[in-house]
């Protein structure tokens, strides 16, 4: 009997999984096309801009023209849009994003490979830690009420009202400029070469703190508020009153309430992930952290569309993947999903 039930559940879950996977694929294709199209609709000619920089001091117009043609050939901007698109798809599949305009002759893949790990190592733990701490605080505020709630709620609201870069600037000024506990910018000391020496790892650790905590603080605020409302809803629910009548211990009730309030928070994280990553990217810029945010800024400054397009593509891909993973996890945690899918 239980075997059949198990099989039905598994079938339901499999359907849920493939449904989500299909969505993941469709969204990614759509995002990919947008990513390709939008920067190419930009007015002005980025190739002309780099040629102007490269050809400084060359007074011979045919010489400049030759350089220009060489670059358009190299970047493929002289071909029709559709052809460019297929070339782009082929290249991206091979991991080749072309040359960076602003950091030529470095390739985009090269620039991104150097920055992507910094962003992953910074944002993934920071958002997770912020989410967990925020949920704990929110649940605690809902459960304890009273003074704790009265202090926590307005401060969480105020902290979450700060734009992510604002928190970054404030932490930077207090802890790096005034107290001089942490360095002001970069991912490691400017006098060090990346290596596995204790010296370098310590330097990385020290540089990591401020960007990390500024992202965590912002995340805590927003999550705590959401979790608090959710928990209050649940605490007022009939099953809680019933459990109290039944004489079930408070600790167990809180565990139930927490679990039920958690579920929407998982979806909430999936939905707000994009915004959080956006904010965190700007926070990176404030600290000149060598991640994707700073790379993106350099791309914008240098009118470097292969770089911008590839960075935004990678960011979209990372957010999409994270959302997908969250939804899959959600399907595992929430028994209702299996139930509805197996109908």
């Amino acid at each position: 009997m239980s075997d059949i039930k198990g099989r039905v559940e598994l079938k339901g879950y499999r359907r849920y999984f493939f449904n989500k996977l299909g969505w993941f694929a469709i969204t990614f294709v759509f995002a990919f096309v947008l990513n390709f199209m939008l920067p190419r609709m930009m007015p002005g000619d980025p190739v002309a801009a780099i040629v102007a920089r490269q050809a400084q001091g060359i007074s011979n117009p045919t010489g400049v023209q030759a350089i220009y043609e060489q670059y358009t050939e190299l970047f493929g901007t002289n071909k029709p849009m559709l052809e460019q698109f297929f070339i782009y798809v082929g290249n991206v599949l091979r991991g080749d994003f072309g040359f960076s305009f602003s950091q030529y002759p470095r390739t985009v893949a090269d620039v991104l490979a150097a920055s992507i790990w910094w962003t992953l190592m910074l944002q993934l733990p920071a958002i997770l830690v912020g989410w967990i701490l925020g949920n704990l605080l929110g649940a605690l505020a809902a459960y304890l009420r009273g003074g704790f709630d009265k202090v926590l709620m307005p401060s969480a609201l105020f902290v979450s009202s700060f734009p992510a870069f604002g928190m970054a600037v404030i932490l930077l000024v207090i802890f790096a400029v005034n107290l001089k506990w942490f360095p002001t910018s970069g991912g490691y000391g400017y006098n060090l070469i990346p290596s596995f020496t204790p010296n370098f790892i310590w330097s990385m650790f020290v540089h990591y703190q401020l960007p990390f905590w500024s992202i965590v603080l912002i995340a805590i605020g927003g999550q705590a508020i959401g979790m608090r409302s959710m928990s209050i809803y649940e605490l007022n629910a009939d099953y809680v009153k019933f459990s109290r009548f039944m004489g079930i211990k408070d600790g167990r009730i809180v565990a139930y309430v927490f679990r039920n309030a958690m579920l929407p928070q998982v979806t909430g994280l999936a939905l707000s992930l994009g915004t959080m990553v956006g904010g965190a990217l700007v926070a990176e810029i404030i600290f000149s952290y060598p991640g994707l945010g700073t790379t993106l800024l350099n791309g914008v400054m240098g009118q470097d569309y292969p770089l911008i397009s590839a960075s935004t593509l990678i960011i979209t891909f990372m957010v999409l993947t994270a959302t997908f993973v969250l939804e899959i996890l959600y399907g595992v945690i929430d028994p209702r999903i299996k139930a509805t899918q197996s109908d």
């Binding site: 947008l34 930009m42 734009p163 870069f165 404030i170 930077l172």
Partner: protein
């Protein structure tokens, strides 16, 4: 309606948020009526003048009446103010080398320091181990202290147009005072100047106005699109719902921030005005409103009063306007407030990246932040260039969040304390 409003204004949270927002609005409206110079005018020659009241030295000397005030502590204060930290350290160094106990010397206590210096310093004395250059340095320090201690007035001279010689015109005595209300030019720079020498306060007020407008336009667009799509998806359902939900799902997972970057970049610097940015923000942030409205409408669709309306043969618009909208109105207002505040934040984030409105016409809160960051105001300790901007953004966003929480508690009794 009246009852609801009364209830809303009885909520403490809403009231606090509303008061903050209204105060900001009032300042934004009244300040330009009083201070009339354009916000982006460059008035300071140099960067980051600290906040304060700036008095024209020229006009102070030429004030119509010069008053004499004999203040006993005027000289001490003057010296205190002009004796630089370097001088104090140099004095201490000499005194220690001379043999005065180090713990007796307090560089902060001007009076005692000067007394010690008077009692001990001897310009001709060459201390053991001190180079000749060092000795000369202390002589210079001594000379400048002598200058500070002088009781002579400052002479104002004029160049004689014929001979080209300087002629004494008047003497400004140390006890001369001008009444600040009689000085022709007194400039209040409450928040100093920024990196281009522009008045930060005036700029901040103008920027707040522009940012509020950006938030308002973005919020209106996003809420309208979200509301229409949500209503259609939720009420009509079927294939319309499927199509709308498909689009909504696409835009939910593609990070809005990425879209904003790509679109702003594609528009190009020259085309990006404040309104354009607002429109772009509006068109990229409707997604969650549409989702929320749809789910609300879904739960209303099969209520009795809606069914009754349908049976009575009322048109689609009439049903939506009179049977559905009133029930979700509070929800839409809350969504709108959130959209406005997130619109302001989105503009700020874009501007930090250098993708905000073009910089020549109007300041926005994000642009001010961007300028302060580019010129490293935060590293240089020029807090007035960025902190007021940050606080304004946070205050506006905080007030709106607070109003929202208040509304939420009024309309969702389960959340009430």
């Amino acid at each position: 309606m009246q009852h609801t409003l009364r209830q809303v204004f009885r909520s403490g949270k809403f009231l606090v948020g509303f008061t903050i927002l209204m105060t900001v609005l009032l300042i934004v409206i009244i300040y330009p009526l009083v201070v009339r110079h354009p916000p982006l005018q460059i008035i300071g020659q140099g960067t980051f003048f600290p906040p304060g009241i700036y008095v024209s030295t020229y006009d102070a000397i030429n004030a119509p009446t010069i008053y004499t005030l004999n203040l006993s502590d005027a000289a001490a204060r003057r010296i205190e103010n002009r004796l630089s930290q370097d001088d104090r350290i140099a004095m201490k160094e000499w005194l220690v080398a001379y043999g005065v106990a180090e713990d007796e010397i307090d560089t902060e206590d001007t009076e005692k320091l000067l007394a010690l210096w008077e009692a001990n310093y001897n310009p001709d004395l060459r201390l053991p181990g001190m180079t000749f250059a060092r000795q000369r340095y202390f002589q210079r320090v001594n000379a400048s202290i002598r200058g500070l201690l002088s009781t002579e007035g400052a002479i104002i001279a004029e160049r004689n147009p014929e001979t080209g010689e300087l002629q004494e015109k008047s003497i400004v005595k140390q006890s001369d005072f001008a009444n600040i209300s009689q000085v022709a030019n007194v400039q209040w720079l409450l928040l100093g100047t920024d990196n281009f020498g522009r008045d930060v306060m005036t700029q901040l007020v103008a920027a707040t106005a522009v940012s509020l407008i950006i938030g308002l336009i973005a919020g209106l667009i996003a809420t309208t699109i979200g509301l229409i799509l949500g209503l259609m998806a939720g009420y009509i359902g079927g294939i319309v719902d499927d199509v709308i939900m498909f689009i909504t799902n696409l835009f939910t997972v593609i990070p809005t921030f990425v879209l904003l970057i790509l679109i702003s970049f594609s528009i190009g610097q020259d085309q990006r005005g404040a309104v354009t940015i607002a429109i772009v923000i509006g068109f990229t942030s409707w997604v969650w409103t549409a989702r929320a409205v749809r789910s609300q409408v879904f739960s209303l669709r099969n209520r009795d009063h809606v069914n009754l309306s349908k049976l009575s043969g009322h048109s689609l618009f009439r049903i939506i306007f009179s049977d559905i909208l009133p029930y979700i109105a509070s929800y839409v207002v809350m969504a709108f407030i959130l959209q406005v505040s997130s619109g302001i934040l989105a503009e700020a984030g874009l501007s930090i990246l250098g993708l905000g409105p073009r910089t020549t016409e109007t300041p926005t809160l994000g642009l001010m932040m961007n300028w302060a960051m580019i010129y490293q105001a935060h590293i240089l300790g020029n807090w007035w260039a960025y902190l007021p901007v940050l606080l304004t953004i946070a205050l506006i966003s905080f007030s709106m969040n607070l109003m929202n929480t208040g509304l939420d508690q009024v309309f969702n009794p389960a959340l009430r304390d």
